[in-house]
């Protein structure tokens, strides 16, 4: 699989993942929106309807309070009448209704208004007095006080005389076979003498009805276990009746609402006790509001939320596309870059491996070569030495043999240097660091220089304290010193001078070796291995001495450098690590 394919696949996967995540988020949000909208609509509808119900009820109650207040006044006036008292107290019941007739005439007079006209709220349909036991005092002439059948009249009786106004509702079966509900108000009549309740006047009215402001609202009254909701379809009344009966049986609350399915549509049914604390049987205002309006609103809101969700999803799709593209660019670049980086690293690793291999091979080779070379040179030298020990040759031959022997010594030195170098290169050289007396070492080598047969006539200047110690292995330190001193002698001019100075400097020891003679050409890298001077010189070496000396100096934690080379003066400086606590303070 190619890199490009892999990359494209990765980007596609990223995009898919992003889109899926967005889809889930959007779907969750939409569902949440649905849920909340539905809840809100339902709660709002219920709250609104409840508000409407309460408002309508409260306006109804205001009207009722007016009615009651007006009645209370009237009844108080009536109760204060001597004739009423006389009739009740003097056992002249036959005179009770005639006595009250004048007082209540305006209440009863006039045409009975249609029930819709609640404004005629003071028009009474009938009235009755209760005796001291709460039973109805039958009128002699029912025509004057509103005719009632026996069942209805019986409903007016109370178990005891009330001491305050009581509101009740009675069912009246009319002659037409209909059933009507009458609101009755019982007003106590107090004795002016004793303050005791001696009777009660029960006045019947058409019930006040809720104004049908809300479309489809139906109101009615529940009392005596019967539902009176004339506008509601008869078929649904039974269902509704059962539900209301259940609700009232299961709850002591005077006021509540619940959902009900009646008439093939969901409805919200409110009920509220009309006569709390009354001696009359419980009666409830029942209000049924169709929920179709709120359902419609809910449907519309669902569409809105659904549309918004779809739009959000679409937007999410586009956005995810764009974002994926946008994100995939750097991802692509990143993928590309990392691929390039990997290739580069592989190449570098391969190069490194081959270099290391080469290096090892070369190191091994030079070590092998040194060893292979050493044995024949040794054989050669031993042969030359045995020839020199022989007698009987001509003097010229001896001189020649001596020269050859010298060359074998030189060859051995070169081979040893090469061996050392190869060990250094391979990192196999280990040094055992001990304090080395540099002063003594320099002195010994200067003595050796003077003892050499071909030493030119040079003047040696020494400028170093005795007993100057450095840290290092004596053999290699000696090699460095030897190399520098031999060079100073080798490249000197006749009648020149060598100056050797040393001293502690900082934590280390600096040895400076200067000599007269030809300057080294600037730009010439004298520390290069197998270097050969560009200027032909009679005293040329094999070109590894300075290189080896510097390598060794560095191996000892120091360095070797050319300080200056001009005007017949060349000066090298080598730095060694000081042997701790041995050197005197400079």
């Amino acid at each position: 699989m190619s890199f490009v394919e892999t990359r494209d696949k990765g980007v596609a996967r990223f995009r898919t993942r992003l889109f899926t995540t967005m889809m889930i988020v959007v779907a969750t949000l939409t569902a949440l929106g649905f849920y909340l909208a539905q809840r809100k609509v339902t709660a709002d509808a219920e709250r609104n309807l409840q508000q409407i119900f309460q408002n309508e009820l409260s306006s109804l109650h205001k009207l009722e309070e007016l009615r009651h207040a007006a009645l209370a006044d009237r009844c108080n006036a009536l109760a204060a009448k001597s004739r009423i008292h006389a009739a009740i107290e003097d056992n002249a019941i036959d005179l009770l209704y005639p006595s009250a007739k004048d007082e209540l005439r305006d209440l009863m007079e006039g045409e009975e208004p249609p029930p819709a006209q609640a404004a005629q709220w003071l028009h009474a349909k009938f009235y009755r007095f209760l005796d001291s036991a709460g039973a109805v005092i039958k009128p002699l002439n029912p025509y004057d006080v509103g005719e009632l059948n026996g069942d209805t009249e019986a409903q007016l009786a109370l178990s005891e005389l009330p001491d305050k106004q009581q509101i009740g509702y009675v069912l009246e079966n009319t002659q037409a076979g209909d059933r009507a509900i009458d609101e009755v108000i019982a007003v106590p009549i107090f004795s002016t003498d004793t303050g005791e309740v001696i009777s009660a006047l029960v006045i019947g009215f058409n019930p006040l009805e809720l104004e049908n402001k809300h479309t489809g609202m139906q109101s009615g009254i529940w009392t005596h276990g019967q539902l009176h909701l004339p506008a509601f379809p008869t078929a649904s009344q039974t269902t509704l009746k059962g539900k209301v009966a259940d609700a009232l049986a299961n709850s002591d609350q005077d006021e509540n609402y619940f959902r009900v399915d009646a008439g093939g549509a969901p409805q919200l049914l409110f009920y509220k006790r009309l006569n709390p604390g009354s001696l009359f049987p419980r009666a409830y205002e029942i209000c049924v509001y169709p929920l179709s309006y709120s359902l419609e609103e809910l449907r519309r809101l669902r569409w809105q939320v659904g549309g918004a969700g779809a739009l959000l999803l679409l937007g999410g799709f586009i956005a995810s596309h764009l974002i994926a593209l946008r994100f995939s660019a750097p991802v692509k670049k990143l993928a590309l870059d990392s691929e390039e980086n990997r290739a580069k690293r592989r190449r570098a690793e391969a190069a490194l491996a081959s270099t290391a291999e080469e290096l090892e091979r070369s190191t091994r080779y030079s070590a092998d070569a040194s060893h292979q070379l050493k044995s024949p040179v040794t054989v050669l030298r031993v042969g030359l030495e045995s020839l020199l020990d022989r007698e009987g040759f001509r003097p010229e031959i001896y001189e020649e043999l001596s020269g050859l022997l010298h060359q074998t010594h030189r060859l051995t030195g070169v081979i040893e240097d090469l061996l050392l170098l190869s060990q250094l290169d391979a990192g196999h050289l280990q040094i055992a660091s001990t304090p080395v007396n540099l002063s003594q070492l320099v002195d010994e080598w200067l003595d050796d220089l003077g003892a050499l047969p071909d030493s030119p006539d040079v003047k040696i200047e020494k400028e170093f304290p005795p007993g100057l110690f450095v840290a290092g292995e004596k053999r290699y330190t000696s090699l460095v010193v030897q190399n520098l001193l031999e060079n100073a002698r080798k490249y000197n001019r006749p009648g020149g001078r060598i100056r050797v100075s040393a001293g502690a400097n900082g934590g280390g020891v600096v040895l400076t070796v200067g000599n007269t003679g030809c300057a080294i050409a600037p730009g010439e890298n004298i520390f290069e291995r197998f270097h050969h001077s560009s200027t032909p010189s009679p005293a040329s070496g094999h070109g590894i001495g300075l290189n080896l000396a510097r390598e060794l100096a560095r191996l000892h934690g120091g360095d070797l450098r050319l300080v200056r080379s001009e005007n017949d003066w060349t000066e090298f400086e080598v730095r060694f690590s000081g042997a701790n606590g041995v050197n005197p303070v400079a």
Partner: protein, 214 residues
């Protein structure tokens, strides 16, 4: 009180037919309900209602000799005045057939009426200068509650009795009935609208019988 009762008796005896005149006397004491208020020195007393029971305040009783007595041809007219929005006297015992006038001595209208079973009447509204003075003849024994349609609090009682022999006790409950015809009777003590005590008595000429109503 006693003086007044005697005056009344004198008045009654003066009109009684001679044949019925007797010389027997009944005296004694009626145990009256305890009055919560201190004894009132004034001669005024009023009608109070307590638990639907009407009585006088301070408590007084009417003691009468029940029996079948021939009704006299004529009886003196009695009077219940309306003064200071009260009935004076507040309790008036009369013999059945007595005519009672209701003069209005106030500066306002009064409308005296009664719904009592013994006598229903309604005098209508009238001013003090109304003439003739509105009156009612009470021909049936029983207790009549007098009311005023205008002044609801006004109460008066007329106790219509079958007998000419009756007397009101003093506030201590003492009474004395004399010039009684001999015979076997029931002596009754009306205490309030619900309570009438009675005792059988044997009245003999020239004797003074002592009867207490505990």
């Amino acid at each position: 009180m006693r003086l007044r009762g005697l005056l009344w008796l004198n008045a009654i005896s003066s009109v009684l037919p001679a044949a019925l005149l007797g010389s027997a006397t009944v005296e004694g004491r009626v145990e009256l309900p305890k009055s919560r208020s201190a004894p009132v020195q004034a001669k005024r007393y009023e009608i109070v209602t307590k638990g639907g029971v009407l009585s006088t305040q301070p408590p007084l009783a009417v003691v009468y000799l029940d029996g079948a007595f021939p009704r006299p041809a004529s009886l003196p007219t009695k009077e219940v005045r309306q003064k200071d929005l009260t009935f004076i006297p507040a309790l008036l015992p009369i013999e059945a057939g007595t005519k009672v006038e209701f003069p209005n001595l106030d500066d306002t209208y009064h409308n005296i009426f009664s719904y009592s079973p013994a006598k229903r009447f309604d005098l209508g509204r009238y001013r003090p200068e109304e003439r003739p003075i509105p009156s009612v003849i009470f021909d049936k024994p029983g207790l009549i509650t007098l009311r005023c349609d205008i002044h609801e609090h006004m109460r008066g009682l007329i106790l219509v009795l079958n007998t000419p022999y009756f007397v009101m006790t003093d506030t201590a409950g003492r009474f004395r009935l004399d010039k009684l015809p001999p015979g076997h009777y029931t002596l009754k003590a009306w205490i309030d609208s619900r309570t009438t005590k009675e005792k059988a008595v044997d009245v003999k000429n020239g004797q003074t019988l002592h009867v207490d109503f505990p």
